[in-house]
Amino acid sequence: MVNLIGSPGSGKTTLLEATLPRLGLRAAVVEGDVATERDAERIRALGVQSVQINTQGGCHLEAHLVERALARLDLTGMDVLFVENVGNLVCPAEFDLGEDFKVAVSSVPEGSDKPLKYPALFSQAGAVLLTKTDLLPAVRFDRGLFWGDVGRLNPRASRFEMDSLSGEGVEAWCEWLRGRLEGKRGSDRRGSPAEGR
């Protein structure tokens, strides 16, 4: 299970739209939003199972909500479950949904200072994704500062930059995901605990 966490508009759903056709794995998506089915509908349009949780005011997903959502999915033969958390860099970092790792999604227009401002998320994330790289020429964004700060908080986190609309950078992220799945299955076969990060 992958727990995607990022601000509203950081590009989480668009990232999934770019990832799912390229991933080559059986996947399903649990979508979390305060209201509307919009994100689940976008995923279903790709032919991928998706269930929407509406928190009706809640600012983050919790494990019991995801548990209920799982009951609405056919998980037979499923390789990976993506949970797209409610748009929010603060609260979702506090809650363990049972994921294998959290992924911090931060977009270029949000600015390069987000990691140090939201240390709980960026310190814990197994991967940090910088999205909307096509906007780099248009906005002020210091990539050195951004990745330098990610390194200060979490030197072991895997790092990816992508433009989900063109697909640039998405394959590297997909390859990493496939590797994580392989690694987890290898650990399961050997009977050792799967690594969390």
């Binding site: 983050h60 609260c91 970092a93 709980a120 310190s123 908080l153 072991r156």
Partner: protein, 163 residues
């Protein structure tokens, strides 16, 4: 800002365990909270008082035990405490370190009223019996220090629980 969510999950888990294990009256719950947790201590205590009203835990007190932010330097391996999640290594000055403590959130112990007639009571004077330490589940970093103990006896907060 989500203290009530966390406390409700805690109280629900404790109640379930209290019922299952037939605990006597609960006097005190000791909750370990890492310094990087985004919670306000006074709000946690207040939410607990509200949440336990009319439950098996009514009248019990929540004590918070804080754990500092701890990081392991990526360059020299030294583990150090920091005021924040990005302070450099005091030993070698490297700015890069990984978080190894500060996201803890687990029940360290529960004090219940000892029954003087109970042969298993640990305290014949009736000051209270400690169950624990350790063993609560935790959210956040797996390296943050879920202690050895009795993981199945004490409630875990934040894990899936019946809706």
């Amino acid at each position: 800002m989500h203290e009530m969510s966390l406390i409700e999950a805690l109280v629900e888990s404790l109640e379930e365990t209290a019922r299952r294990d037939r605990w006597p009256r609960v006097d005190r719950v000791s909750l370990v909270v890492g310094a990087l947790r985004q919670v306000v201590p006074e709000v946690m205590v207040f939410c607990y008082q509200v949440a336990v009203e009319d439950t098996a835990l009514a009248g019990s007190r929540l004590d918070l035990v804080f754990r500092p932010i701890r990081r392991r330097c990526a360059a020299c391996g030294v583990v150090y405490e920091g005021e924040d999640a990005f302070s450099p290594c005091p030993a070698c000055g490297s700015p890069e370190a990984e978080l190894v403590g500060g996201m803890e959130l687990y029940v360290e112990s529960v004090e219940v009223e000892a029954d003087e007639d109970d042969a298993d009571s640990a305290d014949a004077a009736g000051d209270g019996e400690r169950r624990g330490p350790g063993g609560g589940g935790e959210e956040g970093s797996g390296e943050a220090g879920c202690p050895d103990g009795e993981p199945d006896r004490l409630p875990r907060i934040g894990e899936d629980h019946p809706a």
